[in-house]
Symmetry: C2
Subunit: 396 residues, 2 copies
């Protein structure tokens, strides 16, 4: 047994770029992005052959773009400057607290940052992210506090005729307690799945932080898959790897809402929950807001808390399912049965703004109580994460 | 409530490339990679401005490269051909069953495939993957069979003075049973963490498939984090996002092995396990093989099954911890106490081949029984996944 491991390991590292011994290590020997003490951020890319390198992302102000459909907001871009040894750089001014995403554009080709292995898949794209801390963005960080558990498991859905994957957050201490907990059912939007809220939405980090700060009650958060043709997320279900689609058949035809009882039944027979209306909440973004609207109405005495985040509120040609019948009457029944919170949030520039305005007018006419939050911005995860930080403290 | 959702959603899709409404959707309107019926694979990339596009990955034969340190195996590359509309293509010959990884090289710049959102982080790089099914590769797929659960949770480690993140696989039916299960502790290598085996190693898919086929007994698989300076994987612990390193301080100095009892204690007091030697196995790859060797020896009457996968077997200058004292005597004690399987596997071209040969000679000299499997290839996840499919059926 010779003392040569350090030596061998060092040789291994030196040779790794020319060996096929292990996975392709594309990481460059630079730091990018680098978040500085003043919250400015430097992006770096080693691309000695490139003629032009830009960075684009939601940390840059949007710009007006001319399109065939008229002027629209487009993502901002910034030019990197080529420096020594072919490393391009761009330093931002100090940024506000946020979880941001970005891409590089190299000679017109949009790509990921090889120095940043942190990416989140959104529909069919994996995009780099970084966090500038402070304020609400500290809720997105992992802090040194008690942590809940996140489980990916499978439940039987007789209504859909398959076992289906589901993501469950249980609060800190759940496993070593006899206490029963309330449940938030948290639904994704079109193109999402049971990975969306936990990854893009930072649900575990947000809940851990809110609970540690005493701002939200310990609760179970259930994140199901709303695409009834899938048994699991792309790459995680029996369809295995394929190109994910934004518009998935049968997601808004009533099938999911009609079978939602399978999920409630699974949760209430597998977890220590307070199984009554006062301890059930349901919320969702975009399509998940539409599902929330219809599920809470179709099961009218089941949820005391509803959250419609940028909800896709409108009828559809294919919405012929039983769930959508007697809309006005079942909504009135939901109102008459009573509830504690019907929370509607949307951004001022969201493409669903008018549809939500129309729906609020309908609720006003029938005197159905709700709370309304209007934020800046549009149909973005940046808003949905913040809506969760605002909605969860109102529950239970 | 007008029936205009489809219309609005379609408009949204049309405009998505020029809107900053949502995350940057970089996905291109092409399929890449496409696995054909005959297991040939087509790679495609839309890069109209590129002068040359290559694909590199472990599906290509390695090539000899001249380096300052002499000729070495390097990753193979293949040229894509530019076709209509700036889409480059390369079609392989039929490939054998495997989980492969690959990157594109555009005008010398190594990057991910924007049409494939499936990537796995290995140390500091996120790399695209795809599966060609059949044979052993079907064990890496999600099949329509009963599925276990995968939980990321946190355990208290008094020995390391912190709460630490851990990944736990429980077999199908665990939650709705009173049965007790055996436990496999499965350890990662240098640069890895509690995400390595579940993501790169496809542990959940392999165990689900082996159990469904009756080839492995239902068991709990515990995947801890072997880097004692981390409370969780990069991006998942309280250090949040940073550039991961291959060599992490204090990973092979005995601290981890000395505190491993915290993990066993956590598992045995939180899961329905058969808490005896006959129902405990421990295995690991590379550094995890080194940890396996030392943990199983340091706790000499604890495990009946040991798996050393491409183990980093050798002493180190910084290996001064109590764990490493009395090496020969404690190894002999482990032998004298008896065990059912001491399984050593390594690839013929692994840079640790000689060190393993030397260790086997030592075991031969002291007549310590072991089984030895020599595979093709080197220090790769491709081997470690296969070793798991061979080792797990031998347990319990």
């Amino acid at each position: 047994m010779k003392k040569h491991l350090l030596l061998i390991f060092s040789a291994y590292l030196l040779s790794i770029s020319v060996q096929a011994q292990e996975a392709l290590f594309r990481a460059q020997n630079i730091i990018s992005p680098e978040v500085h003490a003043d919250n400015s951020v430097t992006f770096r890319l080693h691309a000695p052959n490139a003629q032009a390198v830009q960075v684009t992302g939601d940390f840059l102000p949007t710009v007006k773009m001319e399109t065939p459909r008229g002027p629209m907001d487009g993502p901002g871009k910034a030019n990197l400057t080529k420096g020594e040894n072919g490393v391009w750089e761009f330093k931002t001014s100090p940024l506000g607290p946020e979880l941001y995403n970005y891409s590089f554009i190299i000679d017109g080709f949009s790509t990921t940052d090889p120095s940043n292995p942190f990416l989140i898949r959104d529909v069919a794209s994996a995009t780099n992210i970084f966090i500038v801390g402070g304020g609400h963005a500290d809720l997105f960080k992992v802090n040194d506090i008690p942590h809940g558990s996140v489980t990916r498991r499978w439940y039987d859905s007789p209504g859909l005729g398959m076992d289906r994957r589901i993501t469950i957050y249980t609060p800190p201490g759940y496993e070593n307690s006899t206490e029963k907990f309330p449940v938030l059912y948290l639904l994704h939007g079109a193109g999402g799945d049971e990975e969306a809220w936990i990854n893009l939405g930072r649900t575990a980090q947000i809940m851990d932080n809110l609970i540690a700060q005493g701002k939200a009650k310990p609760m179970i958060v259930v994140m199901p898959n709303g695409n009834v043709i899938q048994d699991g997320a792309p790459g995680e279900g029996s369809m295995n790897f394929y190109k994910p689609q934004f518009m998935i058949p049968k997601t808004m035809d009533g099938t999911y809402e009609g079978a939602f009882g399978d999920i409630i039944k699974f949760v209430e027979s597998n977890y220590r929950v307070k199984a009554d209306k006062a301890n059930r909440a349901i919320a969702g973004l975009s399509m998940g807001g539409y599902h929330t609207l219809h599920i809470s109405r179709f099961y009218p005495n089941t949820f005391d808390y509803m959250g419609l985040f940028s909800a896709a509120i409108m009828a559809r040609e294919d919405a012929t399912g039983k769930v959508y019948s007697d809309f006005d009457q079942t909504l009135k029944t939901q109102m008459d049965n009573g509830y504690k919170l019907y929370w509607i949030a949307i951004g001022k520039t969201d493409f669903l703004y008018e549809a939500n305005k129309e729906y609020r007018a309908k609720l006003d006419t029938m005197k159905m109580p709700y709370e309304y939050v209007e934020s800046e911005g549009g149909h973005t995860w940046r808003n949905w994460r913040v809506y969760l930080t605002q909605f969860a403290p109102r529950l239970f």
